[in-house]
């Protein structure tokens, strides 16, 4: 799923500093699962903003809202009656949400409350880690299910580089060297030969480097 972190209260307050009323809308999709933009988080943000604005002597009216998904025009349409009652809308979805909202309601202002970070999953309570870079042509079968594109700091296809030490990446003691894991897994399973041929340069045209992407399924467009 898509993982994000909420922006700081200071940054959000600055974005909405000229607003006297806002609508905060969360999303029941990924951001609810990673506890950053669901109902509870909408309520917490609304309370925090009200308290902060009260302290500044500039009270603010806030309506709380939660949409099924902000990445689907069908649910975005549910806001048609309320969206213009406020000075602005603060979206707690991933980066897709405020864009779909802005496209549906071009005269309203939308602000992102979330920094969208990566595709990943939970590795412990309150911990999410990156697992996919959305490169558009998956190669993880070559690396025993361990993705060097998203998990190697240099996206090396032929690692590990000279900075791998004690199973950790050169950039930080908090970052695992995924190439160390790939090599050890292959060695343990007697399949080191898989790593002895040079993997050719990757075709990045399927990734973001190829420009904004689109996925069309003809059978569904009829």
């Amino acid at each position: 799923m898509i993982i994000g972190d909420r922006k700081s209260l200071t940054e959000i307050l600055d974005m909405i500093k000229d607003c006297r009323s806002i609508l905060i809308t969360g999303c029941k999709g990924c951001v609810t699962v990673c506890n950053v933009g669901g109902l509870k988080e909408v309520q917490v943000l609304a309370s925090s903003l009200k308290i902060a604005r009260k302290k500044e002597g500039k009270s603010i009216a806030i309506e709380e809202n939660l949409l099924e998904r902000q990445c689907d025009p069908e649910y975005i349409a549910e806001l048609a009656d309320v969206v213009h009652r406020y000075d602005a809308v603060l979206s707690m979805a991933c980066g897709v949400g405020p864009q779909f909202l802005a496209e549906a309601y071009p005269t309203q202002k939308f602000f992102p409350a979330i920094n969208t970070k990566f595709f990943g999953g939970a590795t412990g309570h309150g911990v999410w880690e990156e697992r996919c870079a959305g490169c558009g042509s998956c190669v993880i079968h070559n690396y025993d299910g361990l993705c060097p594109v998203s998990r190697c700091s240099k996206s090396l296809m032929n690692g590990p580089c000279g900075g791998s030490a004690n199973g950790l990446c050169e950039i930080s003691k908090d970052v695992v060297c995924i190439w160390d894991r790939i090599v050890k897994k292959k060695m343990e399973q007697g399949r080191l030969a898989d790593l002895l041929t040079v993997m050719p340069a990757k075709d990045w045209s399927t990734s973001r480097d190829g420009g904004p992407r689109k996925s069309i399924r003809e059978e569904l467009t009829q």
Binding site: G162, G167, E170
Partner: protein, 310 residues
């Protein structure tokens, strides 16, 4: 390993069976050509080629191709370094052509330190291709006279292709295989990471010799003289993939006051003497970081002079 693939002096020295000696020079943090020329002058005649680093440790400096061209003007053969961090394949091929056109005949293909270490950690990195793929690319450009996409090159760059090898990074057991991969990709010569743990390096070289790798590629052992106890401790603790045994730091500590640098040079010379005798080692790569003015003395004391004539 007989036929000459480039017009490189380093290649000629190695193929003639001489024990090669290369140096290193970091371009200036600015356009200070005068200072660069001073550093290059200290190396002239004392080494077979000089590595011109490419934004090393991810700190912005004069471009490696431009500094390489200045080395050529000064009569010193450059080993033009290129990292994968800062350029995509278009820029790489174009800079290979440019550096070759300006007289570079050696090239060292590297991944490059991550920008997090450098002075612009906010930068976006590239890593369009990795160091193995860069080696293969340089070889394709030279031997097949083609760009990566297969289009013909109008006058191909004939470079002597180098790569790096760090026997001290993990996992150790895989390092000799990665060296083999670099050779199969097209590396003609290898310069290793700075060696301090001699025991580990002897073991690594034995593995490389046993696998027949030293029959296919020239290996130059990396030496960086330790200038002080502080430098040794910094290398041991802060530099990724560096292995400085505690015994070596103790030896520097044991030197009398103000003599640690001299002890560091003694250690380097002892290493060079051992490398001359070590099976599979074809030369030494001396990385005297900001110590270019001591290279002549080290070369002299290690009996590396005179260098074979070009």
């Amino acid at each position: 390993m007989s036929e000459n693939k480039s017009g490189s002096n380093l290649e000629r020295v190695l193929r003639a069976g001489h024990f090669a000696f290369t140096g290193e020079c970091g371009p200036p943090k600015g356009a200070n050509v005068g200072h660069l020329k001073e550093k290059i002058a200290f190396l002239k005649g004392n080494v077979d080629a000089v590595n011109i680093t490419d934004n090393q440790t991810a700190v912005v400096r004069m471009s490696s191709w431009a500094a390489s061209a200045i080395a050529v003007q000064e009569g010193v053969e450059p080993n033009f370094q290129m990292v994968c961090r800062d350029r995509n394949r278009l820029a790489m091929m174009s800079d290979i052509l440019g550096a070759y056109s300006l007289g570079a005949r050696n090239m060292l293909c590297l991944s490059g330190d991550h920008q997090r270490f450098g002075n612009h950690p906010e930068a976006k990195n590239v890593y369009d291709i990795d160091s193995l793929q860069l080696i293969a690319l340089a070889k394709k450009m030279r031997d097949e006279e083609q760009f990566m996409n297969g289009e013909a090159i109008d006058v191909a760059p004939r470079l002597f292709i180098g790569a790096a090898c760090n026997p001290f990074a993990d996992p150790f057991e895989f390092r000799v295989y990665r060296l083999a991969k670099k050779i199969s990709a097209g590396a003609d010569f290898i310069q290793t990471q700075c060696i301090y743990n001699m025991e580990k390096f002897r073991l690594f070289m034995k593995m490389a010799v046993d696998m027949g790798l030293t029959e296919k590629c020239f290996i130059l052992a990396g030496v960086t003289p330790l200038k002080s106890v502080g430098m040794a401790q910094y290398m041991a603790r802060q530099v990724p993939g560096m292995d400085v045994p505690p015994g070596l730091i103790d030896r520097l500590k044991g030197a009398s006051k103000g003599k640690a640098a001299e002890e560091g040079i003694k250690i380097a010379i002892e290493q060079i003497e051992e490398f001359k005798e070590m099976k599979g080692v074809s030369g030494v790569h001396l990385m005297a970081i900001e110590w270019e003015h001591r290279v002549a003395e080290i070369a002299e004391r290690a009996q590396m002079l005179p260098r074979p004539p070009i």
